[in-house]
């Protein structure tokens, strides 16, 4: 797949969109950046993020081979559906949001047959947000997930893969949208929920006893409440299942502790340490 002639429009030049623009600029035929904020567009111009920048979908969507919508999930859905007639026939549209099942279903059902939607989700982007945190190497060495369904064509998958490979990911991984969401509830949403729940128990004189473990465990408690409340609710059923599974494990721990079962606690901690070490070994290949 030749990418050198493609016109790619990135919608929303925040942390992820800005990084995609930086990562693709100069590697595709034309990289266009769309944002509603003049301030963000000024910053994008200063950082030379795109060949063409603007605020008007009617200028920057038609003619694009690929449109990457890098907005919050609800905005993503709304933006794509509102502009459903603006995309040129043959356009492939992708998103980057952390929620897939409902979004993919709604968009694939709501778009004209002449355009195609493919769900995508880069496993990158840590703390921080906004264009100022964007960087070209954001996706380098990380998994890039795509969630095709039976409505996606081999051609679209080929284009998506070819463009995403330009960002230097570790691997492009295909996942079923519903499986993606269940796994996300565990790997992403639960860490945020647990961090927030831990912080929520803070009392003033705890401050003298804060060590590295508390710092690490609560690092992700500082999150954008609007985005995360939305992510939690969009994935409610999966997250509720993970909450219940977590409570079951908490109950089992409580039983071991309550019973004073030193051998049981040691065995459990050893098992957990081994799982964690295996995860780290897998990540080291990154």
């Amino acid at each position: 797949m030749e990418t050198g002639n493609l016109t790619v429009t990135v919608v929303g030049l925040g942390l992820i969109g800005g990084s995609m623009a930086l990562g693709l600029k100069g590697k595709v035929g034309s990289l266009q950046g769309l944002d509603v904020s003049p301030e963000i567009l000024r910053e994008a111009a200063v950082r030379d993020m795109a060949d063409r920048l603007g605020t008007d979908p009617r200028e920057l969507l038609p003619g694009a081979d690929l449109v990457v919508v890098a907005l919050y999930p609800e905005q993503t859905r709304r933006f794509i559906l509102e502009n459903r007639e603006v995309f040129s026939p043959g356009t492939l549209i992708m998103d980057v949001s952390g929620i897939k099942e409902t979004l993919v279903r709604d968009l694939q059902a709501g778009l004209p047959d002449t355009v195609e939607f493919l769900g995508a989700h880069p496993m990158a982007g840590r703390e921080g947000s906004g264009i100022r945190q964007a960087r070209e190497e954001m996706f380098l060495g990380s998994y890039f997930l795509i969630t095709p369904t039976e409505r996606n064509t081999p051609e679209a998958l080929g284009t998506a893969s070819a463009v995403l490979e330009l960002l230097g990911p570790r691997k492009i991984v295909e996942l079923d949208p519903s499986r993606h969401d269940r796994l996300m509830a565990y790997t992403s949403q639960m860490p945020h929920v647990l961090a927030a729940l831990l912080v929520d128990g803070f009392t003033g004189d705890s401050r003298f006893l804060l060590g590295g473990s508390f710092r690490d465990a609560t690092r992700v408690a500082s999150i954008n409440e609007v985005l995360w409340s939305e992510l939690f609710l969009e994935n409610r059923d999966n997250l509720l299942e993970e909450v219940r599974a977590f409570r079951d494990r908490l109950d089992r721990f409580e039983q071991l502790l309550s019973a004073g079962d030193s051998q049981g606690l040691e065995q459990w901690l050893r098992k957990v340490r081994e799982i964690r070490e295996n995860i780290q070994a897998g990540e080291a290949g990154k």
Copy 2:
């Protein structure tokens, strides 16, 4: 308080004991290091950790003004009680373990009136263990907790403070032993419990979706199972209370989520973010 003439013996030259030796050497009259392992003593000699090194309590305890026992809690208790008749009259004994109430009570009750025990706990030492991780600046800028009771004398507190100040702590904080343990259940043990419980839910195909939040939240799941099982059980009642308090907060989160209460979730996440930011601001003074 003049520290230049004091003889200090550090028992157990691991991460904490080794770092204390490195931090005090040359600042007190004589710094002695005691360990059962010839290998550790060789490493201590190579790193010039002490003025005098050895394996025999009968050689290195008598004549010490201050003995710092830097062993695991159960070993600390046993070592001090086994050597109760070996300490010279007037010796101040301190420990460094993360559990205080039962240890302080047992040792203050079990020692002869001629020697004095003061509980201490440095808020330092992150991942890693053993003498090779020891470093002189380990305690620099961190809180150093001491847990005096009505059995401790002003003279002992004066000596302890003067010596600990040599390590450059942010502040020496006095806490009641039982309050210390309750706070530790929250600030230290719960983060480890939650990290372990999260890792315990790992399934193989989660590996494609691991982001920074999972990494941060599970960093402390790789812990020494013998030490931590012991710490959990020594602090069982406090930890059980924290587990129950955590489950109550988890239940409230589940209700908000289950009810689809977007405003409630946002408010809660905002409150948590503010607490976390206040904690960070307090730490920045460090």
